[in-house]
Symmetry: C2
Subunit: 105 residues, 2 copies
């Protein structure tokens, strides 16, 4: 799985898909921040926010890695978590799409 | 300055003043968080928020210390930064109030 070749066209599609997943995840974090603030009972929400954002930053730093040598694994994670959608993958080889969407097959 | 004695009544006043300063500072942080969010152009505000809150947490962890051996220095800082007001100090000995409000005298 890690020695897959990426054509120039696939690299472009992969980059756009990756960026879209990242934007969706950042949107979701921003929405959660706003929701935490809206339902906060007092000013101590700032420390829960700080912890939440720190955890998200660590998770995102760990998860997002565009090296082609690990990109299939990254896409499998992002797809499983819902940040990457099947339509984002259109244009990748059928084999890649199948492996990303059926990692356990 | 560090070997000052605190009477039971002064300890109670000092604790309330300290808590009030902390609450004021947390209120100001919450206000800044809301202002950053309100003026954010895009979802990348989450990482600027994360950095801002991390810096504030470190600063507050470093600054707030209720041990009587350092409390005068803590109060000097909090007063100089505006988190502690002169009225919060009412009931402390005149010597303490003067040292807190005129640390360089």
């Amino acid at each position: 799985m890690l020695d897959m070749k990426w054509s120039p066209a696939e690299k472009k599609i992969a980059r756009a898909a990756y960026d879209r997943a990242y934007q969706r995840e950042c949107d979701a974090i921003l929405l959660e921040v706003k929701s935490m603030l809206a339902s906060a009972a007092d000013n101590q929400i700032i420390w829960r926010l700080e912890e939440y954002l720190r955890d998200r930053r660590r998770e995102i730093d760990r998860k997002y890695d565009f090296r082609y040598s690990v990109l299939m694994l990254v896409f499998i994670s992002l797809y499983a978590e819902g940040w990457l959608k099947e339509e984002d993958l259109a244009g990748l080889s059928p084999e890649k799409i199948y492996k990303i969407t059926h990692p356990l097959a």
